[in-house]
Symmetry: C2
Subunit: 229 residues, 2 copies
Amino acid sequence: MDIRSEFGQRIRELRARSGISQEMLSFRSGLDRSYLSSVERGERNISIVNIEKIAAALQVSIGYMFDGERFSATPAYQPKEFTIPFLERFKYKLDNEKKILAFSVSGLLTGNDVEYMDSILMGICSAFGKGELTLFVDHREMKALDGEPAVYSPEVAEKAVLFQRNLLRYNRRAIVLCNSEFQVQQLNHVTQESGIPSTHLFGQDKEVIGRAYQLLNINGNELIKMQTD
Amino acid sequence: MDIRSEFGQRIRELRARSGISQEMLSFRSGLDRSYLSSVERGERNISIVNIEKIAAALQVSIGYMFDGERFSATPAYQPKEFTIPFLERFKYKLDNEKKILAFSVSGLLTGNDVEYMDSILMGICSAFGKGELTLFVDHREMKALDGEPAVYSPEVAEKAVLFQRNLLRYNRRAIVLCNSEFQVQQLNHVTQESGIPSTHLFGQDKEVIGRAYQLLNINGNELIKMQTD
DNA sequence: ATGTGACTGAAAGTCCGTC
DNA sequence: CGACGGACTTTCAGTCACA
């Protein structure tokens, strides 16, 4: 396949995983919507300056645009997705002894969901001193209905920055288990803006949780467990 | 820095590591020499089709052009480099019991050097049957005078393909320790052409040799040893 | 919300040189 | 070998209206 078509397909994939329209990507990249449309269809020999703009709008490195994992182009954010209430998809647990606040999310996140998590978790944190806690986050089940990983939509990513800034007051750092290399890339951007020292891990379940336990200097966690198979 | 300058600098680096001139790169990529010059100087907003041509000419993936490790732009292939005779930079050892043929090279390689290795190693192999041996190659010391890794020049890469085709008759597969991600990329191209099933490893000494021993199902090798520190 | 054809000015890219 | 320039052709970026 021609590199122009491949690249176009790639944008389409990543855009679908982010749950945004061509119009939104147009706004975020500063490129014309109909121009982006023709790029996605492989009809343009796009230049490096515009490649950079698109990568920035999708919050990935340029290299990831070419060598990264591939996805389907099915839109991740579907209305049906929200039939299961967020309350049932959001779990959290405080380990008072080890000073670890763990939480996990499955499925997709809206901006409201982030604000809800914010209020709940800040309520817990407020019982602690500055930088006393460590966050342990599990995003591995943040998947769309098609079973493929979903990342934050741009709207959600912006709320996540504010959310993380709040958490930063009580939490020294964060360890986050990711659902894809894409999410690692995106969270690198988000945490760079929020300022929270964060490690984003992606890989096989066993090795990724082993690595997280190692970083946290613990042997287990009641919420985020190693699979026993 | 502007993406156009960054990309230009990147080409210059990789070209220097490969030891080829703008003229040679022009010939191999099919792009005009004066055009390549202006791209390297960051004066062009190069398009994706030409980016692909350059990546192919440098034998790396497009993603590696953007996210890969960085080098100085000092030319790797200097005349002085060859003051130490190849005989002293080429070591080999046959493990008759484990059926492993190991060899290592330090410094740069010329086309003649490859032909010399070919004759020596084929002499050894001819005592064995088809696919009876396994190759274990150490390229970690293939460095230029500036101490930075060097890869095969295109001329050498072509001879390496022929060399490997010969070896393929007696060797089932090859494990190669590399000096850089760049060399991994390049050897992926070379071995794809020669057809020899090959694994190219790059990383910290301990982990890379450990991995190699694991792949070879051995606990040690007289030529290629783990550092004891 | 996206696909498409048509259009223009700007820039990419080629080919010829000189230094 | 590489920087740089001039003159030339081709193509991309960017924007429409319309389906």
